[in-house]
């Protein structure tokens, strides 16, 4: 049975595509984003400006983008994977050469109406190109060294580009997402064992490089690691963020301190309260109940992606959906670990909640691909 045949027979067309969308996923995304609007309204001191309103506009835009992408058949996106990947690499090079400096890192391209962060686009492009690669690669070749080297290079090149910006958080996310996709594709587990062993070795090397001429991480990155390991060493400096974040989170208690009543965020003890630390505000104002609710919503999003991935027979669709879900998971897992003092402050926003245009748009586009895979799945 040819792909064309079942595509023609069973994929919905026209307006019916809307009915075949993964609606629970759509509703979950809207709920999470709404929670974000509420928190942005709160941290602005009870005002839709300067954050909540632009965020809503962007979410509206993101939703539109998601629908448009969802309506285009998944195989088109598969064919676009390589283009997307090369385009992202190109953007990374552009940002390297002409990017705007922000927060000590070269990360943005100013497009006038928004700031484009190529590393965000790269997260999705990487997943797409790897999924397309394993879709194209005959299964029996998956674990052959030569065919393992190619995806590794595909992962490492953008990772190093991002690391150079420097954006440690995103480069780790890229590495993890890429590795995760290779794992899903069925690469032999021995490779992963080897990489993990090498990784441990690398970390040891990185730490040994400290203070030498070939230092691999910036001083601020080392300091972040130091304060992560022992925030009390620098309670007013670098450790301040983590300490204040933990205080805010812990003081929320079971029910929270009430909407717009969080003293830590309202009185500016929390750093970056509208971006990286927005979960802390939520946990402070709505307590354990609020925090766990958001976590459950995130978990449900993962589950509905999983449903899409496992109900399709198309390998690209499965891989790209799972890859996007993994990316999404890494986003919020790293962010939450960070604000709870379980991970260093690496500057990863909370997906769909933190204020930030390009991250949200890219995520919505990615979910558009998931939706497309869901609509156009071979049945």
């Amino acid at each position: 049975m040819s792909y064309l045949e079942y595509a023609v027979k069973s994929t919905p067309s026209g307006f019916r595509k809307f009915l075949y969308m993964n609606w629970p996923l759509t509703l979950l995304l809207i709920s999470v984003a709404s929670a974000g609007f509420l928190m942005l309204y709160s941290v602005a001191g009870g005002s839709w400006m300067p954050w909540a309103e632009p965020q809503m506009e962007r979410f509206g835009l993101g939703l539109t983008v998601m629908f448009i992408i969802a309506l285009v058949p998944i195989w088109f996106w598969r064919n676009m994977s390589v283009v997307a990947y090369l385009g992202s690499i190109g953007l990374l090079i552009v940002v390297e050469l002409f990017g705007t400096i922000g927060m000590g890192a070269q990360r943005w391209i100013d497009l006038g109406f928004m700031r484009l962060q190529p590393s965000e686009v790269m997260k999705i492009s990487l997943v797409m190109v790897l999924a397309a690669y394993y879709d194209w690669l005959p299964a029996h070749k998956t674990s052959r060294p030569l065919w393992v080297i190619i995806p590794v290079l595909l992962i490492l090149f953008p990772t190093f580009m991002v690391l150079k910006q420097p954006d440690l958080g995103t480069s780790i996310l890229l590495l993890a997402a890429g590795g995760g996709l290779m794992f899903l594709a069925g690469v032999h587990w021995a490779y992963f064992a080897a990489v993990i062993a090498a990784g441990v070795g690398l970390i040891a090397t990185v730490f040994n490089s400290r203070g030498t001429e070939w230092q691999l991480l910036k001083d601020y990155q080392f300091r972040r690691i130091d304060t992560f390991l022992d925030p009390s060493t620098d309670p007013l400096g670098a450790g301040y963020h983590i300490t204040q974040s933990k205080i805010a989170l812990g003081s929320g208690g079971w029910n929270g301190r009430g909407f717009m009543e969080g003293t830590q965020s309202r009185l500016n003890f929390l750093p970056e309260k509208h971006t990286d630390f927005i979960f802390t505000t939520l946990a402070e104002e709505f307590g354990f109940v609020g925090g766990i609710t958001l976590l459950i919503l995130y978990g449900l999003i993962l589950i509905f992606c999983m449903v899409t991935a496992l109900s399709t027979k198309d390998r690209f669709s499965s891989l790209v959906t799972l890859g996007i879900a993994l990316n999404f998971f890494l986003f919020f897992a790293v962010n939450m670990s960070m604000v709870m003092g379980l991970a260093p402050v690496v500057g990863v926003p909370l997906p769909m909640v933190s204020y930030g245009g390009s991250a949200m748009l890219v995520l919505m586009a990615a979910f558009g691909i998931v939706q497309s895979a869901h609509i156009h799945r071979p049945r």
């Binding site: 064309l4 794992f183 899903l184 204040q244 989170l249 812990g250 976590l295 993994l326």
Partner: protein, 649 residues
């Protein structure tokens, strides 16, 4: 659309669902971990974190208490809190600080130092905190700033409280002054109250202000405010009012004090007036004095040098801190000691040939020719020295010293002023202990007429006189009431001395100023109801050498000021019903009868009449001169307009 071949479903393809489930399982486990961590922090440790959050946001700010005021016995204000103006700048409101400061310095005088200090402070503190640009600014300058406010963003005049002494020099030595807490002050106080750490908080530095610091200061209140991360106050949560400092009422009569101060002007002198009935100090003046307000503001180096280099020592409080050989004013004590010991009777006589030979040394009477046969009354009236040499040698120093203590000499009186001296009434044990030498008979002879080791402060002499006048252990009282609560009276218990002996001594003191041959007859009071009893004293500050004696006694006026005799006079009045005791010491003033007695008499009359006395109170021959003097002093006492006074008006 491009045709697509179905991929063979085998091998690695089959692994996908399995791997997806493994990865899903890992993700679920991680989410579970996050949930557990959240539960641990928000449920198990919530209270600790809540406490930390409260500590973050709640700040306790002190409300400085209002310092207690000081009044005289009639309610006239002596120490008060008056508004002081300063100009502050808030960095975040000012924008371009340099241009704002430049504009401001065109309007009001600003020194480069002040500007530099303010700029440094601004760099260090949060942008919303006001920084003082100029302190103690005149009202005129404040108005200029207020009028030009639109051109001076971030600059505001502020009003604070500062101590002010409206009686200027008159109470400098009594009340002292306050000043901002210094690091040295803090190091002297064990466990200092937090309020002392408020910048520029004023505490008593000297005098009553220092001694009564605790009750004058009051208790600081506190307010709990909510602050944000940068320390800006967002709102006040609650406040607990402090306790204002206690108002003190002095026993001193400000008008009398002012008179005494004016009467002493031009001399280096001290005068103390004590109420015999209550021990109230009605006046306690040390001249020259200084303006305590200078110290509150921070005295300039030039002004300070002027005060320290003056040979009349205006900073020294001569009333309690200065000790002088009491000279002949001590003779009452020697007489009392001898009478009590029974070695003399009031009528027993001693022959004065002009000297007494003690061992190989001659002790001279001030009158070279001698007084002839002298009894107690004559000895005091004419101040015969030989009489006292003689009786003292019979009584012995220890009894004299004991009697001196009974009358408050050599004893530190408990009054809240700085550096209250104990004086000295020496005995044998003291000389052995301090000098490691035996007491000599010559020492007794010297001590008997208040010379040698003997030292007393004007306050002690006034107390001695009050005790002689009343026969009670009068204790000086400076603070009459605290916050309206009357302090214990200083009337004292009757002294353990024979009434009759005391009466004899008092009678002799009466003769001193009322008998034609008395040493203070010229400074008597004529008014019958106000008859005064007293005793003159002239105490040497140098030893008269043999050579000098051979060359003939040099007249005091011919000596340099520092070597002239101290003039002393103690008195009480009215004789029949003693009301006031007055002691006057004029440093290097010459003879007591000439330099001290008229001053004491004038002050006494002023006290007795509670104002300017009628000329009829004075001996007829003196009235013209006294009239002149009263007119002159009246002029001096008119409230002086001060430059800074005009500025504030």
């Amino acid at each position: 659309m491009k045709q697509r071949k179905p991929k063979p479903q085998g091998l690695a393809y089959k692994r996908l669902p399995r791997r997806a489930l493994i990865l899903g399982g890992l993700q679920t486990a991680f989410i579970g971990g996050l949930a557990a961590r959240m539960r641990f922090m928000q449920v198990d440790q919530a209270d600790e974190y809540r406490l930390l959050a409260e500590e973050n946001r709640i700040n306790i700010r002190l409300i400085p208490p209002t310092r207690g005021r000081i009044y005289d016995r009639n309610g006239q204000i002596i120490g008060q809190n008056s508004p002081s103006y300063r100009i502050v700048i808030v960095r975040e409101d000012a924008g371009d600080i340099d241009s704002v400061i430049a504009k401001l310095s065109d309007l009001i005088p600003l020194t480069g130092d002040e500007i530099e200090r303010a700029k440094t402070e601004m760099r260090r503190s949060a942008p919303f905190l006001p920084v003082t640009l100029a302190d103690q600014v005149t009202w005129e300058d404040i108005s200029k700033v207020a009028v030009n406010a639109p051109a001076l963003p971030g600059v505001t005049p502020e009003v604070g409280m500062t101590r002010q002494y409206p009686r200027y020099e008159d109470f400098a030595h009594v009340v002292g002054y306050v000043g901002p807490v210094s690091d040295y002050d803090l190091s002297q106080i064990e466990d200092p109250e937090p309020v002392l750490r408020i910048p520029r908080f004023q505490i008593g530095k000297v005098g009553l202000e220092a001694k009564q610091e605790i009750s004058l200061r009051g208790k600081a209140g506190a307010k709990r405010v909510e602050v944000n991360a940068t320390g800006r106050v967002m709102r006040e949560l609650d406040r607990q009012e402090g306790l204002a400092g206690a108002d003190l009422q002095l026993s001193v009569d400000a008008d009398l004090q002012q008179y005494a101060q004016a009467r002493l002007a031009g001399e280096s002198a001290a005068a103390v007036v004590i109420d015999c009935e209550t021990g109230d100090i009605r006046a306690i003046s040390s001249a020259p004095s200084f303006d305590p307000n200078l110290f509150v503001r921070g005295i300039s180096v030039a002004d300070y040098q002027m005060l320290t280099q003056d040979k009349y020592r205006p900073l020294a409080n001569k009333t309690v801190q200065g000790t002088y050989p009491p000279g002949s004013t001590f003779k009452m004590i020697t007489a009392m000691a001898a009478l009590e010991a029974g070695v003399i009777s009031p009528s027993s006589t001693v022959y004065c040939p002009g000297y007494l030979k003690v061992g190989s040394r001659r002790f001279h009477c001030w009158k070279r020719g001698g007084h002839g046969s002298v009894d107690l009354e004559t000895s005091l009236k004419r101040s015969c020295d030989v009489y006292y040499y003689d009786v003292a040698l019979r009584v012995g120093i220890d009894k004299i010293s004991e009697m001196a203590n009974t009358f408050g000499l050599g004893v530190k009186h408990d009054i809240p002023m700085s550096a209250v001296a104990a004086g000295l009434a020496p005995n044998q044990e003291w000389k052995q202990r301090v000098h490691g030498q035996d007491w000599l008979v010559g020492d007794t002879a010297n001590a008997s007429i208040g010379q040698g080791f003997m030292l007393a402060s004007p306050l002690q002499l006034a107390v001695m006189t009050a005790r002689l006048a009343t026969g009670r252990a009068v204790k000086p009282r400076l603070v009459r009431s605290v916050n309206g609560v009357e302090q214990p009276s200083g009337a004292g218990e009757p002294l353990a001395v024979n009434r009759n002996n005391l009466e004899q001594v008092r009678k002799a003191m009466f003769s001193v100023s009322n008998s034609r041959r008395g040493t203070a007859y010229r400074s008597r009071i004529i008014t019958d109801d106000f008859r005064m009893a007293g005793k003159t004293g002239t105490s040497q500050v140098r030893n008269i050498t043999k050579a000098e004696r051979a060359a003939g006694v040099i007249r005091n006026e011919d000596l340099p000021w520092e070597r002239r005799d101290h003039a002393l006079f103690v008195s009480f009045a009215p004789y029949d019903n003693p009301k006031y005791a007055v002691a006057v010491v004029v440093e290097h003033g010459g003879g007591g009868s000439k330099a001290a007695a008229p001053v004491a008499r004038d002050i006494m009359l002023q006290a007795l009449y509670d104002g300017t006395p009628p000329l009829e109170a004075y001996p007829a021959g003196d009235r013209d001169r006294i009239k002149e003097q009263q007119k002159r002093l009246e002029g001096d006492r008119r409230p002086k307009a001060r430059p800074d006074e005009k500025d504030r008006a």
